[in-house]
């Protein structure tokens, strides 16, 4: 199998399999969570908390000052790599073309050198989070295989994409194939690791927010 075969596989059957597993896993997870249900509320609140639920989904995206002071590194690098990852994912032209070909949606791209710089920053931020996780005794104790796996599958697409663009290590064709395969690995692993937080985080925030707004008991 040569590099071109690998690229064609990753752009064809590989992508189909990865997207299939991703969607299967995510739908399964969401159904599972939702079907757990909640106990019947025997004391409904006087005021509905839906508005607070929606609001909290966004307000919680801003770090709490006290918490930020306790672990500034985690917060800073965390924000940087999340934002960086999504800028690279959503504003590099080849990625937009991919989204357009699947969904029909498209938007303007950022110049490649800008995305390139952001990719470097993202990589550095990700490396710092890993070092911090390993160096800090508490975090190290709390970390499981799943955490390192989640880190790895997030790191690889950015790294291979950067290497492909700069022609590092391998020829572009092979590196591009590896890049696409690394994204497919991310998709496959996604529903079965903590990476599902991308979706579930908003659900749990809504519940929290809804709970905060409970005042009194309806008569």
């Amino acid at each position: 199998m040569n590099a071109m075969d690998l690229l064609l596989w990753s752009r064809g059957p590989g992508l189909g399999i990865a997207i299939g597993i991703f969607l299967f896993g995510m739908v399964l997870r969401l159904f599972e969570i939702y079907s757990l249900g909640r106990k019947r509320d025997l004391a409904p609140a006087r005021t509905g908390g839906e508005g607070s639920g929606w609001r909290t989904m966004f307000t919680r995206s801003v770090p709490d000052r006290a918490q930020f002071k306790r672990s500034p590194v985690v917060f800073t690098t965390g924000y940087i790599f999340h934002i960086g990852f999504f800028i690279v994912l959503l504003f590099l032209l080849p990625h937009i073309e991919l989204i357009r070909s699947i969904s029909g949606l498209s938007w303007p791209a950022l110049p490649t050198p800008v995305v390139d710089l952001i990719a470097v920053i993202t990589l550095i931020a990700l490396i710092v989070t890993l070092i911090y996780r390993i160096m800090d005794p508490v975090r190290r104790l709390l970390s499981t295989f799943g955490d390192y796996l989640a880190w790895t599958v997030t790191f690889l697409p950015v790294l291979t994409g950067y290497m492909a663009y700069h022609h590092l290590l391998f020829d572009y064709t092979l590196m591009l194939a590896l890049h696409i395969l690394s994204v497919e690995l991310l998709l496959v692993v996604f529903p079965f690791t903590k990476l599902t937080h991308m979706v579930t985080l908003f659900i749990s925030r809504w519940y929290n927010g809804e709970w905060f707004a409970r005042k009194g008991v309806a008569s």
Partner: protein, 361 residues
């Protein structure tokens, strides 16, 4: 004549010493060698014997031969073709039928072990190779017989190098490349659909000049011509970096000569010399004329999805797989949800009430 070197050929044709210098400089340029290598070309020219060449055409469209006979620098290339003895090429030779096949057999016998074998077209393997025969001999048999006595083989065009169009899905004739069949001879792949004539003559000139095959990449292509991607040598590359792309073939971007990535250019994954050597005597090349690269010098370029879809997009539609996955996921989710509820209900049912009396026991 057979023992003549290229230098002898040049002398016999009354080429002056300045002409010889010019020939060497031009050959070095054609071989993509640095100009300082012209002296080495000159030194090598006097050493190598004039090889016999047998050209076999299998499952092909004759486009490779057409391309070669329209090579843009006739005087230099005709010198090269004077320097080889093209003993069999069933499209170009005057002889036909049994006479042609006799010429081939005669040449093979006379130069056994020394001739250069050029092949264009792929070889069908299905049903014992009945899908393509010459003089009643299957392509497979003819290739095996001719390859056995060859010093080296040049696979001309993508069909011979990688299977090309006949090999494309669903490959009804079971077509394969030369390198799939012949394993014990040096093979130089000169892919392209068709290959650039200057690249083919460059490869021949290299063989004639140095008597050895050039440096090859992992797909068997001479590095001098296929070492870099179209994208890296493309004059439109700066637009890719700036994020300026043509969205359609007739928009402002297309008129301004912006990057054709969005229109399906396969330049980033294609290795060929089009961007520097160009076509038709250096007149232009596909990207310069406004069309993206098809990737014709790469294996399986015909099965790489639409020529007009960006390289980063899926080759085959994923919506079917996606819909099926969602449906199965939903079904499995419901099943697991029900199972969970049952577990919960069972736990609830098994729950025993504790009274003060129980605790005081």
């Amino acid at each position: 004549m057979r023992d003549e070197t290229l230098l002898d050929t040049l002398k016999r044709r009354g080429i002056s010493r300045r002409g010889f210098l010019k020939f060497c400089a031009t050959t070095a340029s054609m071989l993509a060698l640095p100009p300082a290598m012209a002296a080495e070309v000159a030194a090598a020219l006097g050493k190598v014997r004039r090889p016999a060449v047998i050209w076999l055409s299998f499952q092909e469209c004759t486009g490779c031969t057409e391309s070669l006979t329209r090579a843009h620098s006739p005087s230099i290339e005709s010198l090269i073709f004077d320097a080889i003895s093209l003993d069999y090429h069933h499209t170009l030779q005057a002889a036909s039928g049994h006479a042609a096949e006799e010429a081939r057999e005669h040449s093979m016998k006379q130069d056994w072990g020394n001739y250069l074998l050029l092949v264009d077209g792929s070889i069908p393997l299905k049903d014992d190779g009945v899908y393509s025969t010459i003089a009643g001999i299957s392509n497979l048999q003819m290739l095996k017989d001719a390859a056995a006595g060859a010093a080296a083989i040049v696979s001309v065009g993508t069909c011979a190098a990688y299977g090309g169009l006949p090999h494309a899905n669903p490959n009804p004739t079971g077509a394969v490349s030369v390198s799939e069949i012949i394993k014990d001879k040096p093979i130089i792949n000169v892919p392209g659909c068709p290959p650039i004539p200057a690249v083919l003559t460059g490869v021949l000139a290299h063989y004639l000049t140095f008597g050895a095959i050039p440096d090859l990449d992992d797909l068997g292509r001479p590095k001098a011509f296929f070492g870099e991607s179209i994208h890296d040598r493309c004059y439109r590359r700066p637009f890719y970096d700036q994020g300026k792309f043509a969205k359609t073939f007739d928009d402002e971007g297309a008129r301004n000569g912006w990057c054709l990535f969005e229109l399906g250019c396969k330049g980033p994954t294609t290795h060929n010399a089009c961007a520097t050597t160009k076509w038709n005597g250096g007149t232009s090349w596909p990207v310069q004329s406004g069309h993206g690269c098809l990737g014709c010098s790469e294996p399986d370029f015909w099965d790489g999805g639409s020529f007009y879809k960006a390289l980063s997009t899926p080759i085959s539609p994923v919506t079917g797989a996606a819909a099926a996955a969602v449906a199965i996921g939903a079904a499995a989710g419901v099943a697991i949800g029900l199972a969970n509820r049952q577990t919960k209900a069972a736990a609830k049912a098994a729950h025993q009430k504790a009274t003060i009396a129980d605790l005081e026991k």
